[in-house]
Amino acid sequence: MGMEWAWLLPAVCTGAFVVVAALGRWLPGRGSLLAIGAIGTAFVLFWFVMADVVGNGPGSFSRAWFDSGDLTVRLGMRVDKLAIVMLGLVSAVSLAVQVYSLRYMRGDPRFGWYFALHSLFAASMLALVLADNLLVFYITWELVGLGSYLLIGFWWERRSASEAAKKAFITTRIGDVALLIGILVLFKATGTFELSQIFAMAQAGEISQTTINLSTVLIFIGAAGKSAQFPFHVWLPDAMEGPTPVSALIHAATMVAAGVYLVARMAPLFVLAPGVLDLVAFIGLTTVFIGAALAMVQTDIKRILAYSTISQLGFMMLALGSLGFTAAIFHLLAHGFFKALLFLGAGSIIHAMHERQDIREMGGLRSRLPATWVAFVIAGLALAGIFPLSGFFSKDDVLFSVLDNRGVVWFAAGLIGSVLTALYVARLLYLVFLGEPRSQAAREAREAPLGMTLPVMALMAPAAGLGLLALAWGDYDGFGSFLVFLPFGSRPFEFHGAVFWPSLALAFSAFLMGLSMYRQTGGVAPALVRRRIPWLLTALDNKLYLDHVYQWTVDHVVLVGSRLVALFDRAVVNDAGVDATGRATRWSGLVLRYHETGLVSTYMLTIAVTAMVIVLIVITTG
């Protein structure tokens, strides 16, 4: 029982998807129990696989899928430590979310279908993590997108949900186009989809620098699409139209992590393209600010968390662009747990508030929802990077790699990002849990049932204590040595004074400042900012106008372009080209018909003359 069984993880979930989707109606719990059983099995298997990988090193499993010409496509999987980390995250969070959903989604008319989709999603995500071949990677990547599309649009009767699903799929699909082109560019240069071969060729210098640059940029665009990096981040907030557990699973812990994972997986290629790494870091930093700034002004609890996710993904990209691959993955892991916790907590709140999501109507929920309050505090402080919660360790690691490889200016920018994080966390905690209840629903809110609080509590442990993984204890040398990216050696976690003190001090003070600020004003939006620089707030309220720009582009460029083509097709190709041929025939008929006298004599004369002409031609030429 070991890594050669790793393929079972996605396989059991796929099986669950097929069975539940087809027969769910006739299964107990409409298939939900089967789906949970599958992901539970996957979670158990994960421990065996991990033990095996840790003990015996990475292993792989590959089998030909189909071939054509000189192309053979293999279904390959590879389990290494990077994959293990992701497997753990995906299976654990999926399990928690599905258990949570059991209670949360009770009574929904499409209860079984919901769980089938969850199985599909988990299966594709697990397979994505295991892929050792770019094509398999792309396939699972698309399936993850499909799962996300179907889950966001789960309540498709709502116009907004179906629009959000469409937007999410199409936006990420734009990135996917770049990704696929990047994969094919690499394929053209190397003749293979196998990652190990590509890396070997790249290190041996057999791939031209242009190809590497081009393909990494394209792959990064793909990653940016899925990981909601600027300027592709617009789909993620809208994706909150899906059921809240889905947001926890997909839009916090797993799917959006796929882009980060992709870049980390392709690390051997990215390190050969320093210019592209600059781009990655720059986009990451931009995303940090945009996400954090927008999180400050939102009033929908789920959207605040969504923008926060965007911002945190920006941190991961920043780390990747600063060669901090291990740091990025560690932050990904920590973020996955605490953000899932936040979302599930938010789900409980929304449940308690009778589907109201506006934080202006909340307040004072601390006493009404004590368990959720504890969860939110732990996850929120982790998000803000407060010692000793998991977020502190991972964010410290990220900032350290920025300082190490990018210099003080970038580091300072990163610090500002984490200050903003602390501020919006403070705002969120204050407005939701502290102060006075601001609506009838808030006054009457009741704690969620045990079926929902249990998974929340289960997630509290990793969200709080995951930082321990960073440290060395016993045989374990810390995360920096566990997950090693060549050509970098192991980099055990240390408390660097230059990073530790500023970041902790700033985060802590910003958090306190935020709390006091909201306590003083009691307002929902920061009145100070509103007075001083109103344009900034207006811009933020309008999400920096990006949606407007995209909408305009779609309306005025894409749709107009397509209408032009359609018009061209009708007017030029069809009416001028095709129907005109018909009209020309008709017209020539109108003109030529006067030749037809209807008199037999005329016709016979014509026949005779023609026959003679033909004979003459034959005689003279033959």
Binding site: L605, A608, L616
Partner: protein
């Protein structure tokens, strides 16, 4: 000039004269009688060309059947009451076309290098019959079906409407 040739010339002149009469006659009945002359002369030509069977067929079918049918048709359409010319207004054009055709045909005959001709010998009835009913049996049958179809068709077309 061999006697055969002399006979040939006489018969030819008769055939051409009949033809001329056919196309120039002012009366339909005369025209058909001229045609009969021409057709019978052509039968004579067949005899001179050693094809007695064909000559027989010519006399029987053309001389007998066809001309009779034509005369019947003339009677039924009461040509005597017909006023006006038998000729079409494009008669001059037709003359030009006819002469041109003659020119083209003569030119073709003259220009063409004909292969050396063999000495003609009579075509026996037995040989003709054997060929017709072995090698050409299928076309022969088709021809008979054609005749039948034409016969029925002619009846259907010519039948008065009110009898339907």
């Amino acid at each position: 000039m061999s006697p055969l040739l002399a006979i040939y010339i006489v018969v030819s002149v008769m055939a051409v004269a009949g033809g001329l009469g056919t196309v120039l006659a002012r009366n339909v009945v005369y025209a058909s009688l001229f045609l009969l002359l021409s057709l019978l002369s052509v039968a004579g030509i067949y005899v001179l060309l050693f094809s007695p069977f064909l000559a027989l067929v010519q006399v029987l079918i053309y001389g007998g059947a066809i001309i009779i049918v034509v005369l019947f048709a003339l009677m039924l359409t009461r040509q005597g009451d017909e006023t006006g010319s038998l000729d079409s207004p494009q008669k001059p054009l037709a003359a030009v076309a006819g002469l041109a055709a003659l020119g083209v045909l003569i030119a073709t005959i003259v220009v063409n290098k004909w292969p050396p001709s063999v000495d003609p010998e009579p075509v026996g009835f037995e040989k003709l019959g054997a060929t017709l009913f072995t090698q050409w049996a299928v076309p022969f049958e088709i021809a008979s079906v054609l005749l039948l179809v034409a016969l029925i068709g002619a009846i259907v077309i010519a039948r008065p409407e009110d009898s339907q």
